[in-house]
Subunit: 474 residues, 2 copies
């Protein structure tokens, strides 16, 4: 590589780190023996390696026990940094298809997921560069043999390299299909000649400089599947005429005990079958989320669940795409994660308070749907509960909080400010229902004006969800 | 539990969260069928579970591939939060000893490690509560049988519970030894009666309130093993009379190529044998750490190593004991972690700039020695290199950086400020050598006044370390 290009690369990277407004993701895939390893090593020596992370995956048990994309989300570089993925999600798809572990349809689904994943990253300020290294079949064979016979370099040849040599033409065809399906301005493919005698480093360096320092391309939004619906989405207005009678304490206690016993048994069975459970609680301030969660977790083994209260992101979280902080909290198989507020903040508080641009929260619906489909595809049970109170009831509860010493901490200035935007929130909530009331991810709208009824409704809903899953043939 | 105690507990926890100046760690261990699970569940229902984390460990592959204590460090609660460990490090020691997986001496070593671990946490503002649940042998037997015959609760009885019943008296004796060896004001044991009819929750709640809201006890420093030494520690003055001749470019290039080829082979073998390598680079500003690291990593496969540049901690890091941010960066087996600056900042920059109190950096020596012994005990190769330049050479390099456009980013105001404290740093560096030049963790003091010689010396030192390990019988 020419010295000037080398300095340009280094300077672009230092500027990237200094501004820390975007990160760069490079994926390198392609044929065996095309010089992938040598290229990445050479590149890595040209980069400031204190700002670079190289990932070649052999999934750990912690990764296998979570949705597929978790392993990549957790490895996304922070703003200002470069992440290099060897084969990455493309290798997973390509080799699984070539080895018939993915059917034709599943392969296409995966490519669509990849497209959507990359669009989401790009929209969040990740500059993506994708490299396919080509090599002629005969050259590949000769090169593999030469390596194999050289005692110094024989270790470079892996068992699967021979396999991939035999499948060269099939892999070439699959690679073409893959590249065509995932080509985008915001995540362009570069097909370079590899193998002995080729030096693709220069071409790659040019592309990286552009990714680090050039203008970020417009993101082409993926053709998102709309919510497919499980009947009509709920609407807050559905509750307007309801006026639940207060339930008497004795029958509440009895029914609560029954529901909790039922939940304890269901949860134990989920743990035994290693099915993860993700429960989302949203609701207006003072709707009683905390109380409902408390009654729910009281029935669970403390070792099985974790409650995640979602507040302002940490600085590490702010340095990553917005959904990163939810991905990192996903439970292992057999565990229960309860979210007290959730990713829906993107289309609720962030929308209403102007913390996200309209373009950002609007694409949030699609990102959320895809996030939740990942959970479902991994086999998780997903429950989404919205606790709704009317405006008068909220005021009564605010006043009661203000007057009761051990409840005063629950009431903040922010609660009063949010209350002034009651109608804006109402609109955002109904929009959220419309856009994210999805197959297996439907919202339960819970009338929370009577606390006892609300708690029982929450337990019943969760019990029904778990029982529906447990009734499925294994 | 009385309502007043319940409110006291909740209020103490909310205050803990609001102030976020300490965290609370609770370990619950003891005999089988003594009601550990029920107690933790009941406690968890009394606590604000959005601020509590319960950990019952089944180590993952990511945990097994790192030093033993990594699994607990990564699970330490942030300031303001409560972490509950079911059996935790005590269960590990107790059952391993009872099942003869730990010998008598190794058991005692483990107890000493525990004592030191807890002292370190306590000194960093972690309030520790330890609970041993007792039960009479006969009562235990009857209770296990009763559970076993109750279809609703038979699942609570595990295979190992019977084993532990048979070993009741041996476990009781080991428990006594364990508690005696790890008793401390800053991490007191509470032995409570468990089993049917006992309700230890009240006593536990009182202790937790004290841990959350009471004064933090004085920490009794563990009797730290001093550095055992591998010959005399180096001193900066050793280099004062040296004036290395500049090395000519041609012979440098040749020797560099040789050393890198040697390193490439050694590193590959470390990977094959799954031995982790941790390399620490310290040195004055402009001593050439970056250049040395670059020559070193140039010989490595990019997929094998990661360079960690240690700068200011993130807010998540600041919410944990100081060493947490180094623990989280430890490599998997077979990988190489290169630290560009390191945990030694505790006794260098933090000492000199007054970022740590004298008591804090002074105990840092012992904490560092124990941290490094953990690495070694796990089988890692640890290399610590200090690159030293003299004051004139530093000035020449600062000026050259100021004058060269593509090097200007390397020179900051801070570098000039640090230079004013040259002698303070010199004292801190020599003290560091004295206190942390340990068996298998010895410092290599590298004369960095000639860059070429320094780079070769670094490569030679690392090669010798790796070769020494590879020469050991397996």
């Amino acid at each position: 590589m020419k010295e000037s290009l080398r300095y340009a690369l280094l300077e672009a990277q230092l500027e990237l780190a200094r501004r820390a407004s975007r990160s760069v993701v490079l994926v390198v895939t392609g044929h065996a023996a095309a010089g992938k390893t040598a290229l990445i090593n050479e590149l890595n020596h040209r980069l400031e390696n204190r700002l670079t992370e190289v990932h070649a995956l052999a999934p750990s048990s912690e990764e296998r026990e979570r949705p597929y994309w978790w392993r990549y989300w957790r490895r996304l570089p922070a703003r200002g940094r470069v992440g290099v993925f060897v084969h990455g999600w493309y290798g997973d798809a390509l080799f699984a298809r070539a080895e018939q572990r993915l059917g034709e349809g599943a392969f296409r689904d995966r490519l669509a997921e990849i497209r959507a994943f990359e669009a989401e990253l790009a929209a969040e300020g990740v500059a993506i560069v994708k490299l396919w290294l080509d090599i002629d079949r005969d050259v590949q064979g000769r090169h593999l043999k030469a390596l194999w016979h050289d005692p110094e370099r024989a270790w470079q040849v892996k068992e699967h390299d021979w396999q991939r040599h035999l499948q060269h033409d099939a892999l070439a065809a699959l690679g073409r299909e893959m590249r065509r399906a995932t080509e985008a301005d915001h995540a362009p493919w570069h097909r370079l000649a590899g193998g002995p005698g080729e030096t693709p480093i220069k071409a790659l360096a040019h592309r990286l400089v552009a990714a680090m320092a050039g203008p970020l391309p417009e993101v082409e939004p993926p053709a998102g599947r709309p919510a497919t619906g499980v009947g009509a989405p709920p609407r807050l207005a559905d509750l307007d005429d309801a006026s639940p009678e207060a339930m008497d304490k004795a029958s509440y206690r009895e029914r609560l005990r029954e529901a909790q016993a039922r939940l304890a048994g269901n949860a134990r069975e989920m743990q035994r079958r290693r099915i993860p459970v993700v429960l989302v609680f949203e609701g207006q301030d003072a709707a009683g989320k905390g109380g409902c969660i408390h009654r729910l977790t009281s029935a669970l083994d403390a070792r099985q669940y974790r409650v995640h209260r979602i507040a302002a992101p940490s600085d590490e979280e702010r340095a990553h795409p917005w959904a990163w902080r939810f991905w990192r909290r996903l439970p292992l198989d057999g565990r229960v994660a309860v979210f007290d507020r959730s990713w829906y903040g993107r289309v609720l508080v962030e929308r209403v308070e102007g913390l996200a641009e309209p373009a950002e929260w609007r694409r949030g619906y699609d990102e959320i749907r895809r996030f939740e489909r990942q959970l479902l595809a991994h086999g998780a049970v997903l429950g989404k509960l919205f606790l709704a109170v009317d405006k008068d009831e909220q005021l009564r509860r605010f006043r009661s909080r203000a007057e009761t010493p051990h409840k005063r901490h629950k009431l903040t200035e922010e609660d009063w400010r949010n209350r002034e935007r009651w109608d804006d929130y109402r609109r955002a909530i109904d929009d959220m229902f419309v856009h994210t009331h999805d197959v297996d991810g439907g919202w339960a709208l819970i009338d929370a004006n009577d606390k006892r009824r609300a708690r029982l409704a929450v337990l019943d809903h969760v019990n029904r969800l778990l029982e529906a899953r447990l009734a499925e043939p294994r």
